[in-house]
Symmetry: C2
Subunit: 147 residues, 2 copies
DNA sequence: AATCTAATTTAGGCTTACCTAACTTTATTG
DNA sequence: CAATAAAGTTAGGTAAGCCTAAATTAGATT
């Protein structure tokens, strides 16, 4: 019993990952994700959100009823949690290096879509080990502060 | 005497960076970069390359003469060297962590466009310090090999 | 229940970056 | 030096994601 690939099974686009990540975030903080909330969160128009939400419904990543709202399907939730995990791990790593929150937010937003599982695991392991090397971290941070 | 911003001075798109990076690479290895070479290197059609090369000429990033070839302008060369530097630094860092060449190539190709100068400097510093921590690196690599 | 407002949807367009097919120019070579 | 092959260009199209403006629906307030 294999998972059924509808078509060529392309990986989700960055845009799709961004939408799913925000939708999960909204559901976790507000309990729901309306079109207007998603639009505000991503700083795009409500019309664009409606389009994408219809597409995500067609792709089976969420269940959407016109004018009524949406819920993530198991597949959509899995993708959302996956991208959220990448986001958090990268954020933790860059925080450890002493970078600015604004810089971290910006860079992670871009990089999170391009990091494969092995690279993610390596950075996860590195972060864990570095946490117990405060002197090494201090030296890295010094070099940063010295512009 | 400030550098003159033609328009709103948007940052170069990922596509522009990819083209410039390959063009510089071809010039460094073959001495020149023809449309057909760039197309092969990026695995896209010659027609697409012709279009982009005309655009890069219009933007002052290279000088292009129809049917005759192209050379990078100082501005174009600066951008090309900048993205190449990001590529190399990220590659060095992931190599240090013990990742597969194929994985590294793929991930760096995506991430290089989304890493800001501060983050780059942090990773540069970290790479330098880690190089002198073989035992820490060994522990990270162990964790990777253990899937 | 009628009205008003906020949320949503539809329609029509735009830009980027790619494509194929057809054509033109340049370079090679017999 | 004419013919062929390779390289380059143009024309016309497509798909993803965004936009604004104009409907439409739902929900709240009287």
């Amino acid at each position: 019993m294999s998972t059924k690939p509808k078509s060529p099974a392309r990986p989700p686009s960055s845009a799709v990952e961004d939408y799913l990540e925000r939708i999960l975030g909204l559901i976790n903080t507000k309990g729901y994700a309306r079109v207007v909330d998603i639009a505000q969160s991503l700083d795009i128009s409500q019309a664009s959100v409606t389009n994408m939400v219809q597409r995500l419904d067609a792709e089976g990543l969420l269940n959407y009823e016109k004018y009524r709202g949406l819920v993530l399907t198991p597949a959509g939730e899995a993708l959302a949690k996956n991208i959220t995990h990448r986001h958090e791990l990268l954020t933790d790593f860059l925080k450890l290096l002493g970078l600015d929150d604004a810089v971290i937010y910006h860079d992670v937003e871009g990089m999170e879509h391009h990091i494969s599982p092995p690279t993610l695991r390596a950075i996860e392991a590195l972060t864990a080990h570095l946490t117990r090397q405060p002197s090494l971290l201090a030296r890295v941070r010094e070099q940063l502060d010295a512009n």
